[in-house]
């Protein structure tokens, strides 16, 4: 079993300049913020089920960037149809990382479908993702990082993590501020590359 903060931190350590991250509501947002609160992160605090679709729209608009969606098993399950959409559209620069604690951790730890019968990596593969990988132990993270950041997308990774709650790391929650910060930073970077 992997600690979720360690897992996300390992993927985002020394992140490349062209990496844009969208985090799903709840713990994935806290995990991404804990790994480094940078303007190239877009934190969701709601819109459950939408993170992968949002990543798709961003990936299509920014073929020069790598887009990483970090979400949980609960949100991925709610947006499971969007995995079919991602598979069909097949954006080469999009990766989805599911932090899978097999529970609805924010709401009392009720067992989720992944703690029963659903295998999200298998779902993604069946939807046409080019590569899927599940990390169960710390040593698996190096290969997972390479898949998330470098393999031709769409790719989906799952990190199996413990279900205990960690101290919350709360980034900005004003959506207007998050959007403005993201657009200002990434538009400048894009312009910077052109000059």
């Amino acid at each position: 079993m992997i600690d979720r903060r360690d897992g996300v931190a390992a993927i985002l350590k020394d992140r490349p300049d062209n990496l844009l991250v969208i985090s799903g509501l709840g713990s994935p947002t806290y995990d991404v913020a804990a790994a480094g609160d940078v303007a190239e992160n877009f934190y969701l605090w709601g819109a459950m089920g939408g993170s992968a679709s949002m990543g798709l729209g961003l990936a299509l608009a920014r073929p020069d960037a790598r887009v990483l969606v970090v979400t949980g098993d609960g949100e991925a399950l709610m947006g499971m149809g969007s995995l079919a959409t991602l598979g069909a559209k097949a954006p080469e620069n999009l990766a989805v990382l599911v932090i899978d604690n097999e529970a609805f951790g924010e709401t009392g730890g009720q067992t989720s479908h992944t703690g029963k019968t659903t295998n999200l990596a298998a779902v993604a593969l069946a939807c046409g993702f080019r590569h899927v990988l599940t990390a169960h132990r710390q040593p698996d993270l190096a290969v997972l990082k390479q898949v998330m950041l470098e393999e031709t997308g769409p790719v989906l990774g799952v990190i199996k993590v413990g279900s205990g709650e960690l101290p919350r790391v709360l980034p900005e929650r004003d959506g207007h501020a998050i959007r403005n910060r993201f657009i200002t930073a990434t538009t400048n970077r894009k312009n910077g590359e052109k000059t």
């Binding site: 709601g46 819109a47 939408g50 949002m54 729209g57 608009a61 657009i183």
Partner: protein, 177 residues
């Protein structure tokens, strides 16, 4: 992969809607199909400068076009009125963050409707949009549809707000079975 070149039938008012989308530099189109949108969907797929994405449910399109905006592109979602209810919680993303958003909605359940199951959502479509913070236009003619589409994109993307254009069932024609 792009489809073959496409041209609208001479009497298809959707050519005006498509021209408006092009003039307004719309680069992403997401949709759950409706027969009333069919030629517009085909035209978008055939256009090399528009990325068209078929969705499994309409709420995906709300999030997708928010992502497109983060990447600096304008978008539009095509759906029918029965899909509006699927989006309600996802609309909170637009209001919470000030995302621009445009959707063209073919109306069902209001004019010579054959299928009673279309009535409940058709009756509350406009109110659902308004309660979700949208500016709502309603087109009863092809000319209106083109002009309102252009205005909707400009308004949404210049003023960071969500706009819906309802294409009336009288304009589209009741579905024949």
């Amino acid at each position: 992969m792009k489809a073959k070149a496409f041209s609208f039938a001479a009497d298809d008012w959707r050519s005006g809607v498509f021209a408006a989308l092009k003039r307004q530099n719309v680069q992403q189109m997401a949709y759950v199909p409706d027969a009333g949108h069919a030629s517009l969907i085909t035209a978008c797929h055939a256009d090399a400068e528009i990325e068209s994405t078929v969705l499994t449910t309409e709420e995906e399109g709300v999030a997708l076009l928010a992502g497109a905006d983060l990447g600096g592109q304008r978008g539009v979602m095509l759906m029918q009125s029965s899909g509006v209810g699927n989006c309600v919680n996802m609309f909170s993303l637009l209001q919470s963050c000030g995302f621009p958003f445009v959707t063209l909605v073919t109306m069902r359940g209001e004019w010579a409707e054959f299928n009673p199951w279309q009535i409940p959502m058709g009756k509350v479509t406009e109110e659902t949009f308004k309660r979700s913070g949208f500016i709502v236009y309603r087109a009863d003619t092809g000319e209106d549809a083109a002009a309102m589409t252009a205005s909707a994109v400009q308004l949404a993307y210049d003023s960071n707000c969500p706009v819906a254009v309802l294409l009336s069932q009288r304009l589209i024609g009741a579905k024949n079975f």
